[in-house]
């Protein structure tokens, strides 16, 4: 402990006075009830007194480190030996891949034993004598401060920054321009979506294609109480923009008894009770299709927004702000269901310019 770290005046009086009685409890005097009581007397561990106990601890620590080594060897061995597709039953984990189980167990044991050995070593064998390390003053010595200021002034003079104005100005210029590269890169966050949020692939005459069979749907395919998902004709799963387009155009088709449809516009836009609604929740855009065929409610799995498909997909519960957009459908000359235009309003969650 150097004198630089602990200036003399910061040391507790008791410590300086008597080191052999280090930790002697100072009874608070009459004058100062808050006097520093100092450290309690040091107590020894069994390992400090009994050499046999110390050797036992040593063996325990060495045993754990050896166990860790063996576990690492077992890890490598099981990586080599256990086949990837072998399955075993382990209570209470159930059927589990033998390889995963072996790797996890051996690596776990290897790491745990290193930690446990280190903790046992530190607690029983390493020195546990209490040490007080007092805080030193934050302020530097006056000479040090004076030297730093001198050095700075000397450096400023030697660089001739004040005299050579050309260097100074060009340096400022370079430093000012460099951050611009970062700003320019922000351009890649764009371009703005323009009207992409307002339009989907649906337009007049596009057939409704069943997602399961990839065949266009006929009204007779859709039974009352059934649920079908459709995509616009011409959109194929390996198209490069499939995900972007289906995220907007995904359609949920159900058939209600026409007399059960309460909303006039919904009835008008349906075909013989077949209604087509956007599958994208108007809250934050989860695919929504937990359809209850008896209540005609559709529930969003993310935040429990509930829409009533028999009443214009009105929101009846939850955080969604808009009804699900309905697609106007009809039947073409060949008897297939077709769209009679795009959605009238933007599908999915609201956005700043939605209006």
């Amino acid at each position: 402990m150097s004198s630089q770290d602990t200036p003399e005046e910061n040391l507790p009086a008791e410590r300086a006075a008597d080191d052999s009685e280090h930790g002697a409890v100072a009874v608070p005097g009459e004058k100062n009830p808050f006097a520093d009581p100092g450290l309690p007397p040091h107590e020894h561990r069994i390992q400090d007194i009994d050499e046999r106990a110390a050797r036992r601890s040593e063996r325990a620590v060495a045993f754990m480190f050896t166990l860790s080594m063996l576990a690492t060897v077992a890890f490598i061995a099981s990586f080599v030996a256990v086949p990837v597709d072998k399955s075993i039953y382990v209570f209470p984990l159930g059927h589990i891949s033998a390889l995963n189980f072996a790797l996890g167990m051996t690596l776990g044991v290897a790491l745990f034993c290193i930690g446990a050995g280190a903790v046992h070593w530190a607690r029983t064998l390493m020195s546990d004598v209490e040490l007080a390390d007092d805080r030193h003053a934050i302020e530097a010595e006056p000479e040090v401060r004076a030297k730093v200021m001198d050095d700075f002034r000397q450096g400023a003079k030697e660089s001739a920054l004040g005299r050579r104005k050309l260097i100074r100005n060009t340096m400022f210029g370079a430093l000012t321009l460099v951050p611009l590269s970062g700003v320019v890169l922000l351009r890649d966050l764009g371009p703005l979506p323009e009207d992409k949020l307002r339009h989907t692939l649906w337009r007049k005459g596009k057939l409704l294609v069943n997602m399961n069979t990839d065949e266009p749907l006929r009204p007779s395919d859709v039974a009352v109480g059934s649920l079908t998902f459709a995509k616009p004709e011409g959109l194929e799963e390996h198209d490069h923009d499939f995900q972007n387009e289906i995220a907007k155009a995904a359609l949920m088709i159900v058939r209600l008894q026409p007399e059960n449809i309460k909303d006039k516009r919904e009835l008008e836009w349906s075909h013989e009770g077949i209604v087509a609604y956007s599958k994208i929740c108007t809250h934050v855009g989860c695919p929504i299709s937990l359809y209850e065929q008896q209540t005609h409610h559709v529930l969003c799995p993310c935040h429990q927004s509930t829409f009533d498909l028999s009443d214009g997909a009105r929101v009846i519960f939850g955080p969604a702000g808009h009804a699900l957009p309905q697609l106007r459908i009809g039947v073409n000359d060949e008897g297939y269901l077709e769209a009679l235009g795009d959605f009238e309003e933007p599908v999915g969650p609201a956005f700043w310019e939605r209006g």
Binding site: E43, R45, P92, G94, N210, S226, E292, Q294, H297
Partner: protein
């Protein structure tokens, strides 16, 4: 006759002859072959219907009406088909114990013969899906990967990705599909029991259904395995994260507290 033979080399002659032959074969077939079979079937069938009607009067009529027309306590059964009866009764859902948000699965008290009679009676009330045959629902050789895709498109929103089930509104729920007979899965898809929408063959073909059953058989049956061990309900990152935070981190804190709480001193104080 001469006129006819003069036209025997006409380009359409072959087509006309073929049509006449086809019509004759078809006509003769309808005259002879099915007649006997239908007669034999009819007696067995009408017997089954009679027996089914008796069972219906005891077990079902109080809610569904004496003729299956439905009452305020139960929907009409006209046109639900034999598949619906087989599903509802064989899984013990019907007869229902009590009215409520959802009728749960319970022990079935009917024998398969009685269920068949009930199904025959209900099927006689109006046309509906019939009970599938074994080769319709047997998942042997079906495309598991395709079934997984179909399951995630059509079923996973309610039944969870691996068919563990999930909650719906006001006390209703989608039940777990674990250990459900492939036949019952098939019937449920076809008939749409309770609040489940139906997936008729017109929109989800027989092969699609078989693929879905094969997928469930692979991920959600006795023989399916979870390479990672504990599934924690198969709910994904939510339950796994919760487990990690509570038991993983909690365990580490507990060990740290235990280590620090024990004193290594010879003199315990």
């Amino acid at each position: 006759m001469k006129k006819l033979s003069a036209r025997r080399r006409h380009p359409l002659a072959a087509v006309v002859v073929l049509l006449i032959a086809l019509a004759a074969t078809g006509g003769l077939y309808t005259l002879f072959a099915p007649a006997d079979k239908a007669k034999a079937d009819e007696t067995a069938q009408s017997l089954a219907i009679d027996e089914g009607k008796k069972l219906y009067a005891v077990g079902c009529a109080s809610c569904h009406g004496t003729g299956g027309q439905g009452t305020t306590d139960g929907p009409s059964l006209v046109g639900v088909g034999a598949a619906a009866v087989d599903f509802q009764v064989a899984t013990g859902r019907m007869p229902a114990q009590q009215p409520g948000a959802q009728v749960p699965k319970k022990r079935n008290i009917y024998s398969q013969a009685e269920i068949d009679q009930l199904a025959a009676y209900i099927a006689s009330l109006g046309a509906g899906p019939s009970v599938p045959t074994e080769n319709q629902y047997n998942p042997e050789g079906a495309d598991i990967a395709e079934g997984g895709e179909l399951f995630r498109t059509n079923c996973a929103q309610c039944h969870n990705f691996t068919g563990k089930g999930g909650a719906l509104t006001t006390g209703k729920y989608a039940p777990t599909l674990e250990d459900v007979d492939p036949k019952h899965i098939y019937e449920a898809m076809q008939t749409g029991p309770q609040n489940m929408p139906s997936f008729p063959d017109t929109t989800l073909t027989e092969k699609n259904k078989k693929d879905i059953i094969a997928y469930l058989d692979a991920v959600n049956s006795d023989k399916s395995e979870s390479p990672g061990g504990l599934e924690l309900g198969g709910l994904g990152p939510v339950s796994e994260g919760l487990f990690g935070w509570i038991f993983g981190l909690g365990g580490l804190i507990a060990v740290a507290v235990w280590v620090a709480a024990r004193t290594a001193k010879a003199k315990k104080s």
